[in-house]
């Protein structure tokens, strides 16, 4: 066995160097001239929106929940304990999922491990640096989730000083819990992932079904919230039977109930000691497990492995160059899990997202305003989710990696190359929009004619976006030097397209919605306005962006030499 893996004390000086290097790498992106600042702002904005919505809903909800009387008795402490326990359990699950990803990436997908194994670096030092890195990342997640939950609840329960001290302690110790449980799951998880590795169709079906399942569950939760909100009294929902079930469920949650008890000062000492014991045992267990995993990762990296299967096949049948290019595009997207998920799965789920959001929004708007806005809402939602799906096309050029230059050297024209990419995107978007129109039509939100309008405008707007994204990518493409040129970092172009798409949809869609509501309130028939405005806008944008794509296409294509 390699002596480097034998136990020995970590070297603090080397540890400092390794941590400094990791910190520099983490923040190196800011020095990049092409750093995606827009993307970062977008992420922060989304986080702030998400947190603000959560805090608003949570404070409102907790006010009502804490008031609930069980058998005529109000018990704020018990209700706060239940709320916090349930929330901690959810946060626990989320942080464990995050930790599995972090451990997996840090230990198994980090080529540096192999490089370091050849350097005079003590195995324990390297291990400790990796462990600290994982802990720090989890600490950030803990601050985002645990801290937000606790601080949001504080005003409702009139929290004292202890609550804040306990919040701080919980935030710091939480990563030990999530990392330890995650370290148990990592190996079985890797086995599952390896099973799916080259089974592309199965992966696609599973990912899409899971995504659809997730959205369906999300819809049902939101629908329940909507029903509760529309009834305008949460207490009708939380009957004595429901409350007893919650209390019983809470008693089974580990470690959430102990941590919640400790934070809320219920049997502080006992819950605190149990929480501490769990944290310490988990910390020890985490160190042991990750150390074992680390050795396994180092050995698998240095020894190498072969995990591909052989199937003898005849030479594939002959195709035209254009069809061969389309097939190549399909293979690259379908066999790269991140591409497959962010395009094919999302495109297939898009109709479901539109349907669910329409189911929620349509009824609410009708109840609140008293006007039928189904068509306008369907159009807005189709454009909105279509825009999210088609941002993937902003990688049409860059995802070829260094093969972009090889294709340039092949006897195919710029139009053939670019339009093979457009053709794949168009095929996907047509399928997605047709399904969307059928689903929305079958759901009774629109009639046959409106469903056709939805499909046509959806496809035309998607085509405009595909043309713009492809041409813009040709201008700003940056090729990844990883194997196969797979893009692992988000591009500023994608953020730009999301922002432009959203703004256009909000302005155009909002205007249509406003016209419809105002027109109906004033007793005017404005159905034709929606039809003509959406169709004209779709055709105009389609023509404009098609010209933008094809104008001097060959010159731009052959002159582009960003990677060399």
């Amino acid at each position: 066995m390699n002596n480097k893996f034998k136990d020995s004390a970590p070297d603090i000086a080397t540890l400092r160097v390794l941590l400094k290097k990791q910190a520099k790498e983490t923040f190196s992106g800011f020095k990049d001239k092409k750093f995606d600042y827009l993307g970062l702002i977008l992420k922060i904005a989304i986080y702030i929106c998400f947190t603000a919505t959560f805090v608003f809903m949570f404070v409102r909800f907790s006010g009502v929940y804490l008031d609930i009387k069980l058998y005529g008795v109000q018990d704020i402490s018990a209700r706060a304990y239940e709320m916090l326990t349930v929330l901690y359990e959810v946060v626990f699950l989320l942080t464990v999922i995050g930790a599995v990803g972090q451990i997996n990436h840090t230990l198994f997908h980090n080529d540096e491990n192999m490089l370091f194994s050849a350097m005079p670096i003590n195995g324990s030092t390297l291990f400790l640096s990796r462990l600290i890195s994982i802990y720090l990342k989890q600490l950030i997640v803990s601050i985002i989730f645990v801290f937000t939950v606790n601080i949001s609840l504080a005003p409702s329960i009139h929290a004292g000083a202890w609550y804040y001290v306990a919040t701080l302690l919980t935030t710091v110790f939480w990563p030990f819990l999530s990392i330890s449980v995650a370290s148990l799951i990592v190996l079985p998880m890797r086995k599952v992932l390896e099973f799916f590795k080259n089974r592309f169709v199965l992966s696609f079906v599973c990912v899409t079904v899971m995504l659809a399942g997730g959205f369906t569950a999300y819809y049902f939760v939101l629908n329940a919230v909507k029903q509760i909100l529309l009834k305008d009294d949460l207490r009708y929902f939380f009957t004595e039977k429901v409350m007893n079930s919650i209390a019983e469920g809470v008693s089974f949650t580990v470690p959430a109930r102990f941590v919640a008890g400790f934070v809320l000062g219920r049997d502080t000492l006992v819950n605190g000691l149990i929480s501490l014991a769990i944290a310490l045992v988990c910390a020890g267990f985490a160190v042991l497990m990750i150390k074992l995993l680390f050795r396994k990762a180092m050995q698998s990296k240095t020894q190498g492995r072969s995990d591909f299967e052989r199937k003898k096949k005849a030479f594939p049948k002959r195709r035209s160059p254009f069809t061969a290019l389309i097939k190549k595009e399909f293979i690259i997207v379908f066999r790269t899990s991140s591409y497959m998920f962010s395009y094919f799965s999302v495109a297939l789920i898009m109709p479901l997202m539109v349907f669910f959001c329409l189911s929620l929004g349509d009824n609410m708007v009708k109840t609140l305003v008293g006007v039928d806005t189904s068509l306008e809402l369907a159009l807005i939602l189709t454009m909105l989710f279509g825009a999210i799906t088609n941002t993937f096309c902003a990688t049409n050029i860059s995802r070829d990696g260094m093969m972009f230059y090889c294709v340039k050297a092949m006897p195919v024209s710029a139009k053939q190359v670019v339009f093979s990419k457009i053709a794949l995107c168009l095929f996907t978007t047509v399928l997605s929009n047709l399904l969307n129109a059928v689903l929305v039509g079958a759901g009774g939100f629109v009639n046959v004619g409106e469903a056709v309008l939805l499909a046509v405008t959806g496809v035309l707007f998607a085509f405009s976006q595909i043309c713009y994204a492809t041409r813009a990518d040709m201008k700003f493409a940056r090729f990844s030097d990883s194997d196969g040129g797979e893009i692992s970092q988000s591009s500023d172009l994608i953020s730009q397209i999301i922002v432009i798409g959203f703004l256009s949809i909000i302005i155009c869609g909002g205007a249509l919605l406003y016209l419809n509501v105002q027109g109906n309130l004033k007793g005017m028939k404005i159905e034709n306005v929606t039809w003509s405005v959406s169709l004209v806008a779709a055709i105009l944008s389609c023509v404009f962006f098609y010209i933008y794509l094809v104008r001097k296409l060959a010159t731009k294509y052959y002159e582009f030499s960003g990677g060399y």
Binding site: N198, S306, D307, F308, E309, R310, K311, K312, K313, F315, P316, R318, R319, S320, P321, T323, A324, L325, K327, K328, I331, I332, R335, T336, G401, M402, M403, Y405, C406, K408, A409, M410, P411, V412, S413, D483, G484, G485, Y558, E559, S561, Y564
Partner: protein, 239 residues
């Protein structure tokens, strides 16, 4: 006799204010010839080759492949050329066979010629059953082999290789050298860049030495037995 490759006064720069990366290179490849390009790192070998392959645009000069100007008739010129890049770029999510079929489709190789050509190239490069695997699972050397096989699927008149021997094992290297000679003897031309003086001296009919983007000499290696010594003298003195 028609030249397979004709490069005249090639000039290329990477930015408007940058110095010429390639400054007035002219070279020819006749049927049956193997021409080597030698030069130190950054001399302009790869840039010259990438301009010939059509990967990089160039400012001045002309390049003709089998009589077709690469700017006026790019598709016809490219149809007559096979190329192997120095970075072994390849679509790694395809299997070896899918990649070869893709290239055969792009170069419009006749259906009847596909299987026999693959069999012949498999004998030379020895990829074996690995051709059925995903390219992402290939080693560096195997990627080099699939790139070489792919570049020859359409039996091009001109075979351009940038650092072709990098990553190959000695057995395959010997086999490739033998094949290169055979391929040229069939009336095709080969242009390749290398750092390996011995290999270049042994294989090439002519050697072009490039320094700072300028062509410093064009040696005919067939003239007499002293040419290897002459090549080393010129190469090291010019560096």
């Amino acid at each position: 006799m028609e030249k397979i490759l004709s490069v005249k006064g090639l000039r290329k720069k990477y930015a408007p204010k940058a110095p010429w990366a390639v400054d007035g290179i002219s070279l020819e490849c006749n049927p049956g010839e193997i021409v080597g390009i030698l030069g130190h790192n950054g001399a302009g070998k790869s840039t010259t080759i990438k301009c010939i392959e059509g990967m990089l645009p160039f400012e001045e000069g002309t390049i003709e492949i089998c009589g077709y100007d690469v700017k006026k008739h790019p598709l016809k010129a490219k149809s007559n050329m096979g190329f192997v890049t120095d970075n072994h770029a390849v679509f790694s999510k395809m299997t070896g066979l899918e990649y070869l079929a893709f290239l055969a489709d792009i170069y419009k190789v006749e259906t009847s010629q596909r299987e026999p050509r693959l069999e012949e190239l498999q004998r030379v490069f020895g990829l074996g059953d690995k051709v059925y695997d995903l390219i992402s699972s290939y080693s560096h050397g195997m990627k080099q082999k699939i790139c070489m096989i792919g570049s020859l699927m359409h039996a091009p008149g001109l075979w351009v290789l940038d650092e072709p021997m990098t990553g190959l094992d000695p057995m395959t290297m010997k086999s490739v050298e033998k094949f290169m000679r055979e391929y040229a003897d069939r009336g095709n031309a080969i242009l390749f860049s290398s750092h390996n003086l011995t290999s270049v001296a042994k294989l090439c009919d002519r050697v072009v030495i490039i320094k700072h983007g300028n062509q410093v000499c064009d040696l005919d290696m067939r003239e007499d037995g002293e040419q290897q010594a002459r090549l080393e003298e010129v190469f090291f003195n010019e560096q």
